[in-house]
Point group: C2
Chain length 878, copies 2
C-alpha cells in the first residue's frame, strides 16, 4: 500500500499530532467531538519531509491526494473551487508538531479570481458586501505575492498609500469598494510587472503554490532561529491545513474572536477573550476598532455565547489544560477554527497546574510535567512589562549571558555604578569586559553589558551567580570607555542615558523599558514540593562565595557541586599574593606567597561551610592558566615588580613566559599541582582546616570533598591525591578529630572518560565538567567557535548550541561511557555534572537517565534543575 | 608458599629473564651449559618492585633469603664473608630485563675491611699483591661512598691528587702499596667527616647497602631518560646479581677481557675483542695500558684461548645471535662473567640477520624480528663518526625533529645558505624559526637548527620530508639573527663558525664533528623483501610535493596517505594569491583569488600523480587556521594592502579579526569549507582536473581520494562532501571520462571517533589524524605541553611522549572504537593513519593489530614502517 499523505479532518484525532501537526490534530479532534469545524484536510508533516527529500518538489502522488481530498471537501461543504455561483474559498495554514506562533506562513481567501469575485458580488445585494469582497481580493493578491512569490509587501503598500493620498483619506477602512476594486487591478498589474507573468487565476494552481510556500517557510531564517531556541528538530517538518473560509464579516450577525479558558497572564479561572462583530481576524489585529470583551457576547448573541462557553469548557476538560481558541460566527452560526493549549506566563503556568490538580482534572505528576522548567527563570528574575516591550526598539544583540530584564542609566565604571546607585539611581554597567575589581559595581547595577567575552566570561559567570541580568559579547558596540560613551546601531549613548537589557534573549534596547519585579507565589512552594517528591537526582549549586551559596540554599540547593577556588583569588588584596605566588622562581618564594593566601582562603571556606549548615561542598582546586592572574597593564607590572623587588624586565620576562598558544589546552588544572605541589598542599590545608573549625563550632562533622580538575590519567590523579591525603591526614591527626574526606576528580578531558575505569581506582567521585568536555570532544573552543557556528546553524549542521544543550550523541556518549566504566570499578561512585549543562532541562533529563547522582548549576538555575529532574523521573516511571 | 625472591645461578635459566634480568638469566644459563661461571645468586626484579612498593625498604623475608643464599655461595665457593684467612669478595651488579648499559650502578670488591685486607696480604707474599689489595680497598671505599652513600667521587679524587702532588707522580699507577694504604685510611676519615659515622666494616651491612643502592639506581634520572627513549616500562624494575670476585690482576697468569662473536660495527663473522694480562676490568677502560687484540691470546695462553673460542661459539649457537662477553682469567683458569646479545650498528644488525639466515641458524621471520626498525634511520641518514663524537662537547639540546647528523658552518639566512653552498661550503642554517620562504636555503643546508617550534613546526615537517637533519625548539639559544650571531652555553657563534647537529637526539655540538654518509648495502633489499613478504599493512607516505613523493616511492611507499595541500600554498608567488583570498570580503573577491591559485595547485597535483605512476594519493583539503597565512610584518602588510587596493587600517582590522584564543580549536579544517564553500570547490577542481589530465596522458584511470579534515559531525561532512561531489561530477561528465573518486575524512576530533558509525555513512575512508586526536584526547596542545611534560616525566605520570608513541590506553581506545564502529556501517571501509605515529614502530604494530589498512608517514620513515608492519604480522602469526 502506498503511503498516505493527506487526511480529512474527519480521518484524524489528537493522537496524530506528529503526522498532522498540532493545529491539524486538534481540528480533527474537535471534529471527532462533534464541534462545529469547517471541514477541510491536512497535508501531513511527512509530505513536508518528502518535499525536501525530493529537492523541493511536491511529488505527483501527493498532488493527486490533494486533488482527491479537495473534491471531498467540495462535496462536504457543497461549494466548488472556482465556481462563480458557489465558490469554495480556503485558508492555507502551517501547523507543526510543536507550536511555532508567527514563524511560518498563512494564506487566506485562496480561490479568489476576477470571475469568482464578480459572481460573489452578484449573489449578494448588500453594498457593504461588495467592499468586503474587493478588500478580501486585494489582500489575497498581496498576501499570495508576498508569501508564495516573494514579492515584498512594500510594492503594494506603496500603491495603497498613493491611493489614500489621492483620495485624501488616512485609513484603509476609508477606501470604498471601487477604490479597492481599482487597487486589486493595480496589484495584478504590479505583479505582472515584477514577475513577468499574470497573477494565477486557477484556484488549484494558487493552492499548490500556497502549499509549497508553507513547506518552504519551515526553512525560513526566523523559523530556524525559533527552533534552535526551543529545541525543535528541523527533521520534524510542518503540516499544511487547508480549510474552507467562514466569514465573520458577512453581516452584523457575524463576527470573529479569540479566547482563553483561563487568564494566560495570571492563570485565573475565567473565560478571557475578545471579539468583533462583522469583522475578520485581521481586523482584530489591525486595531482600528476596539474589540469587545468576550463577556459582552453573552448580551449580543446569548445563544452563540452559551454554545461557545460550553464548547470551551468541553475542550478544557478534554485536553485537561487551558485552551487558546479561535472562532468565527458566520450569519449567527459558530465555527471553531483552532484550539490549542494556550501559551501562558510562568506565574499562570504555575497557578493553572496547581488549580487543575485541585479541580481533580490532573494528578500532581501531570502538574509537574505541565510547567516548562526554563519558564521558572521568569519567576526568579525581573521581566519587562509586556506592553512596554512591544514599543521598544532593539539596538543590538549580545549573548544571553544571565537571564532577567534590566533598565537603568548607563555608567562606565564600577565606581560610578556604586556612586549612582548610592544616590538611588538604577544603573546598567557597560564595560569592554569586566574584571574582578568590578565586583562591587556589578553588585550595585541592575544589569551588565559587555563588549567582549562569552558565556563563561567573568561578567557572565559572576552575573549568573548573583542572578543579575547580563548581556555579554556585543561586539557591535564601538566602545569609548575613557570618554564615557559608546556607539551602537549608529547612535551614541553617553553616561546617564537610559538603556534596557534582556538577559534571556541578549537583546539591548536604547531606551527605558519598564520592568516588573520577580514574585514567587505560594503555589511555587507547593508545586516544587510535588517536584521534589518525585525527583531522584540531587541538585547542587556552583557557588564560590557565601552570598551566592546562601541564595542557592534558599532556592533549594542540596549542597555545592562546584566551588571554583580561583574565583576567591580576585577579591581585595589577595590578588597581590596570588601574583607573588605566580612570579615566584623558587619553592620557598612560592610557599611564602601561599602562606599569605592560606588564611584568606580558609576564612572563605569557613563562611561557606557555615552557610551550608551541613550540606556538602565540593571544592575544585586551582584550574585556570596562571596568565589569567598576572597584570598586563604597565602600571600594574611596575607595582608588582616593586612589591616583589624584581626588575621590571625580569617580571615582564616571567609574564611573557606564561604566554600559551592554546591556553585552553595548556598549563592549567591539575597540571599546576603537578608542577607546583605546594599550591595543592596549601589548598588542602585551607579546606581541611576550615572543615575542622566549623565542625568543632557546630558539633556536626563535615566531610570535605576535594576535586582535582583536568585529570587525564590515573597516575596524574594519584600524584596530586597523594599530596592531598598526606597533607589532610596530618592536619586531621593533629586536630585529634575523627574526620573523613573524599578526593575525586573532574571528568572533562576525553582521555579521563575513556579510562574512567582506571581513574575510578583513585577517584571517590566524578564530576563531569561538560564545558571543557564539550570543547575537547568537538575540538572547538567556546571563545573561537562564534566565528563559524552561525554558518553551521545556517547549514543546519548543528541545531543547538552544544555549550548550552548537552550533545547527547557525542559528549553524552562519552559521559555515559565514563559513568558506566566508573561504576564497574567502584559501584558506589558518586557521579555528578557541574558544567553549564547542569541547569539545562534536556541535559538534566539526560543526567537522570544515565544514572548520575546529582547535577550542579548556578544558584538561579537550581529551581529549574529541580523541576527538570522531577520531570525526568516522572517520564521514566511512565 | 611464600614468594621466592632470591635465586642461585644454578636455579635459573635464560627463560627467566623477566624475573632475573638479562644478566642474571644469562649467568644462570651459562651455569646450566656447564660453563665456568663464579657461582653467585640473583635478587629478582620482583624484589626491586617490592622494595619500591614497601616505601624503599628491603623486607625482612627478602633479607633472610639473601642471608640464606649468601651461606650457600660461601659453601659452594669455599670462602667466607669477612673471613681473614679465606674471604669471600663479591661484585654487586644491576641487571634489568632489557639491557641498559651504564645506566645503573655496580660495586666491586665488596667484603673488604681492614681485617680482611690484612689477612689477604698476610696470605700472599708477592709484593705486587699488597699493592693490588690496597688499590682494591681504596677503590671499594670510594665506590661504596659514591654509589651507596652518595658522597661524590670528588672528595676522594682531591685526596688522590694531593697525594700524587706530594709524591711528585702523575698517574695512579705510580702510587705504591704504602701510598694506597695511606689513601684508604684518609678515605675512611673523609667518609666519617662527611657522614658522621664510620665506614661500615661488616661485609653483610656493606652488601645490604649495595643492594639498596642498585635498586635505588633504577630510579636515577639517567635511567629514567634512557627508559623513556627506549620504551622500557618503569614497572619492570632491576634484578641484582651478587657474584664472587675473580681476579685478573692476581699475577701474570691472569687477565681480563671482552669479546664479540661478530664485528659489532660491520657484522663480519669473526671473533673480535681485547684483553689485558694481570689486570682488572677497570684497567681496560682506564686506557693506561693498551689492550691486546683477542687473537694474541692464542699465543699467550693457547689453552685458555681455545676454551674461550669454543665457549663463544657455543654461546652464539645457543643464543642464535651475536654475543658480547666478559671474561676473566684467574691464575690460568677462565671464568665467564657475562654474555648478552651484543649491541651493534644498523649495518651490522642487517648483515648479521642476513648471515644467520644463510648459516641456517635462524629463519627469515626471525631475521626480520632481529632488526629494530628505529635503527634503519641510521642507514638512511648520515651519522656522526663514533670516535669523533666521543670527543665532542654538547652545548645544547633541542627537539630531535628530523634524524641524521649534520656538520657545517653557521649561516643565518636562507640566502646565505644558498650562496655558501653554491661555493661548496657545508652549512647549517640557524633560524629563530623557519618560514616557507626559507625553503631553498633549507634544501641547500646540511642541517637546520631553530630556536622556536615543535616537532610539527614548519622546519621539522619540511626537514623530515627532505630527510635533512633538524633540531628544533632549542629555547636556550639567545638569537641575534640580524647581527648574525647566537649565544649558547655562554659561547658566541658567529656566521661561518662550525657546529654539528644530531637530529636523532636533538644534541648540538659547538664544533665540527666528522660524519659518515648513509650507505645502503645489498643486504637491505634482501632483508626488506623478507619483511614485505610478511607484511599485510600497507605503507603510504605523507608528501606534499613531487620531490618528497619520488623519495618516498624509492623507499617503497605504496602511495600518498596525506598530501597537505596548504604546504603547496607557500611556494613562490602563490602565497600572495592565498592572502588575497583570505582578506576577501565577498564571495566574488574570494573566487577571483581562488582562480589564481587553481592552475598552480592543479599543476602540483598533476606532477605528483605522474611521479606516483598509478599509486593512490589522498589529498587533504585546506586545514590550518587562516591567520597562519597572513603577513604579520608591517612591510608585508603594506605590500598586500597595496596589491589588494585596501586601506592599511582595514587590512590590519581583517588580520586582527583572524586572531583566535585557541587556534588549535578554532576556525580551521572543514570549518573553513563550511564558511567558504568556494575554497572546497576550487580544491576539488584542482584534484579532479589533475587526475583527468594525467589519466588521459597515461591511459591508466586514476581514482582520486579527497579527504575532509577536522570533521566532528556527519552533517558537516555531508555538507562539504556535497560541494565536492557536485563539483567533481560535473567536471568528470564534461571530460567525458569514466572516472570514480572517493571522499573520506580525517578522524582527528574525539566526537568523530565517538560517532564513527554515523560518519561512515558518508565517508568512504577514514584516516586517523593522531596528532590532533592526541591533543584533543589528552586536552593539551603540543605547542604548550613542553611547559609541564618534563614534570610529568619526572613524576613518572607519563613514560613516553604521546605525540611520538601512540597512547594505546586512551587515544588508541578511541581509534579502535572508531575503526570498529566504521566497519559496522561500511564493512569495506578503508582505514589508515596519517599522524606522526605512522612512522613509530610500536604505533605501527598497534595499527596492524586493530586491523587498519595502511599507515602513512614521512618519506624517510617508510622503511621503518614497512619493517615494523612486518614484525607486527610475524608476531601476530606466532
Amino acid at each position: 500500500m502506498s503511503q498516505k499523505y493527506v487526511y480529512l479532518f474527519s480521518e484524524g484525532d489528537e493522537s496524530m499530532r506528529e503526522l498532522l501537526g498540532g493545529k491539524g490534530a486538534n481540528l480533527a479532534q474537535m471534529t471527532k467531538l462533534g464541534m462545529p469545524v469547517p471541514q477541510g484536510f491536512t497535508i501531513s508533516t511527512e509530505a513536508c519531509t518528502r518535499y525536501y527529500d525530493d529537492g523541493k518538489v511536491i511529488a505527483p502522488e501527493i498532488e493527486a491526494e490533494i486533488d482527491a481530498n479537495l473534491a471531498k471537501i467540495e462535496e462536504i461543504n457543497g461549494k466548488k473551487f472556482g465556481s462563480v455561483t458557489n465558490p469554495l474559498l480556503v485558508s492555507v495554514r502551517s501547523g507543526a508538531r510543536a507550536s511555532m506562533p508567527g514563524m511560518m506562513d498563512t494564506i487566506l481567501n485562496l480561490g479568489l479570481n476576477d470571475e469568482v469575485v464578480a459572481g460573489l458580488i452578484a449573489g449578494n445585494s448588500d453594498p457593504k458586501f461588495e467592499r468586503f469582497v474587493y478588500d478580501s481580493y486585494r489582500r489575497f493578491i498581496q498576501m499570495y505575492s508576498d508569501v508564495v512569490m516573494e514579492v515584498g509587501k512594500k510594492y503594494f503598500e506603496k500603491l495603497i498609500d498613493e491611493m489614500k493620498e489621492a483620495k485624501g483619506v488616512k485609513n484603509d477602512i476609508d477606501l470604498d469598494a471601487s477604490d479597492l476594486k481599482k487597487l486589486s487591478e493595480m496589484f495584478k498589474a504590479e505583479y505582472k510587472k515584477i514577475l513577468g507573468e499574470d497573477f494565477p487565476v486557477d484556484p488549484k494552481a494558487q493552492l499548490m503554490g500556497a502549499v509549497k510556500a508553507v513547506f518552504r517557510s519551515w526553512d525560513n531564517p526566523r523559523a530556524n532561529v525559533y527552533r534552535r531556541m526551543n529545541d525543535i528538530p528541523y527533521s520534524w517538518g510542518t503540516a499544511v491545513n487547508v480549510q474552507p473560509m467562514v466569514f465573520g464579516n458577512l453581516n452584523e450577525n457575524s463576527g470573529t474572536g479569540v479566547a482563553f479558558t483561563r487568564d494566560p497572564a495570571t492563570g485565573e479561572r475565567k473565560l478571557m477573550g475578545e471579539y468583533l462583530i462583522n469583522a475578520q481576524g485581521e481586523d482584530v489585529v489591525a486595531g482600528v476598532r476596539t474589540p469587545q470583551p468576550i463577556s459582552k457576547l453573552a448580551e449580543e448573541m446569548p445563544e452563540v455565547y452559551n454554545q461557545f462557553v460550553e464548547t470551551a469548557q468541553r475542550l478544557e476538560k478534554h485536553y485537561k489544560d487551558m485552551q487558546d481558541m479561535e472562532f468565527t460566527i458566520e450569519n449567527g452560526k459558530l465555527y471553531m477554527l483552532q484550539t490549542r493549549n494556550g501559551k501562558r506566563t510562568a506565574a499562570a503556568a504555575l497557578k493553572i497546574a496547581v488549580d487543575l490538580v485541585d479541580e481533580g482534572l490532573i494528578s500532581e505528576d501531570e502538574a509537574v510535567l505541565r510547567v516548562d522548567p526554563k519558564q521558572l527563570d521568569a519567576l526568579l528574575h525581573p521581566q519587562f512589562d509586556a506592553k512596554a516591550l512591544k514599543a521598544a526598539k532593539v539596538i543590538g544583540t549580545g549573548l544571553a549571558a544571565s537571564p532577567g530584564a534590566a533598565c537603568g542609566r548607563v555608567v562606565f565604571t564600577a565606581e560610578d555604578a556604586k556612586e549612582w546607585a548610592a544616590k538611588g539611581e538604577k544603573v546598567v554597567l557597560v564595560r569592554l569586559e569586566t574584571s574582578p575589581e568590578d565586583i562591587e559595581g556589578m553588585v550595585a547595577a541592575q544589569g551588565i553589558l559587555t563588549v567582549r567575552g562569552g558565556m563563561t566570561s567573568h561578567a557572565a559567570v559572576v552575573a549568573r551567580g548573583m542572578g543579575t541580568c547580563c548581556v555579554s559579547g556585543c561586539g557591535d558596540i564601538k566602545m569609548h570607555e575613557e570618554e564615557k560613551y559608546f556607539v551602537l546601531d549608529g547612535i551614541t549613548y553617553k553616561e546617564g542615558d537610559y538603556i534596557s537589557l534582556d538577559g534571556s534573549t541578549g537583546k539591548i534596547y536604547g531606551e527605558a523599558v519598564a520592568t516588573v519585579e520577580a514574585t514567587i507565589s505560594g503555589d511555587f512552594g507547593r508545586f516544587m514540593a510535588w517536584a521534589d517528591a518525585k525527583r531522584t537526582l540531587k541538585v547542587r549549586t556552583n557557588a564560590d562565595n557565601p552570598r551566592d551559596t546562601l541564595q542557592a540554599v534558599k532556592f533549594g540547593a542540596e549542597g555545592i557541586g562546584l566551588c571554583r577556588t580561583e574565583h576567591m583569588f580576585f577579591e581585595g588584596d589577595r590578588i597581590k599574593a596570588i601574583r607573588e605566588m605566580i612570579v615566584s622562581e623558587t619553592v620557598e618564594e612560592r610557599e611564602k606567597a601561599l602562606a599569605k593566601i592560606l588564611p584568606l582562603q580558609q576564612g572563605d571556606f569557613e563562611e561557606m561551610y557555615r552557610v551550608l549548615e551541613g550540606r556538602p561542598m565540593t571544592v575544585r582546586f586551582l584550574d585556570p592558566p596562571l596568565h589569567e592572574f598576572v597584570p598586563q597593564k604597565e602600571e600594574d607590572i611596575l607595582e608588582l615588580a616593586n612589591e616583589m623587588k624584581l626588575e621590571v624586565s625580569k617580571l615582564k620576562e616571567i609574564i611573557e613566559g606564561l604566554h600559551e598558544f592554546n591556553p585552553m589546552m595548556g598549563h592549567r588544572g591539575c597540571r599546576l599541582a603537578v608542577t607546583y605541589p605546594e599550591i595543592a598542599a596549601m589548598q588542602t590545608t585551607a579546606v581541611i582546616n576550615a572543615a575542622i573549625t566549623v565542625s568543632k563550632e557546630t558539633g556536626n562533622m563535615i566531610v570535605p570533598e576535594i576535586m582535582i580538575p583536568l585529570v587525564g590519567e590515573i597516575k596524574e590523579l594519584k600524584y596530586v591525591k597523594d599530596i592531598v591525603t598526606s597533607t589532610a591526614d596530618k592536619l586531621i591527626a593533629d586536630a585529634g578529630i575523627d574526620m573523613t574526606y573524599k578526593v575525586g576528580t573532574m571528568i572533562e578531558i576525553p582521555r579521563a572518560a575513556l579510562t574512567a575505569d582506571e581513574i575510578a581506582k583513585e577517584a571517590e567521585f566524578f564530576s563531569f565538567g561538560t564545558n571543557d568536555l564539550t570543547q575537547m570532544t568537538f575540538g572547538f573552543s567556546r571563545d573561537d567557535a562564534g566565528k563559524f557556528l552561525d554558518a553551521y546553524y545556517d547549514a543546519k549542521i548543528y541545531e543547538s548550541d552544544p555549550f548550552a544543550k548537552l550533545d547527547q550523541d557525542g559528549v553524552g556518549k562519552l559521559v555515559k561511557m565514563a559513568a558506566d566504566l566508573g561504576k564497574t570499578t567502584r559501584p558506589d561512585i558518586k557521579l555528578g555534572i557541574c558544567g553549564e549543562h547542569g541547569g539545562d532541562p534536556s541535559s538534566v533529563e539526560f543526567c537522570h537517565n544515565i544514572g548520575l547522582s546529582y547535577v550542579s548549576c548556578s544558584p538561579y538555575r537550581v529551581p529549574i534543575a529541580r523541576l527538570a529532574a522531577a520531570q525526568a523521573a516522572i517520564k521514566e516511571s511512565k
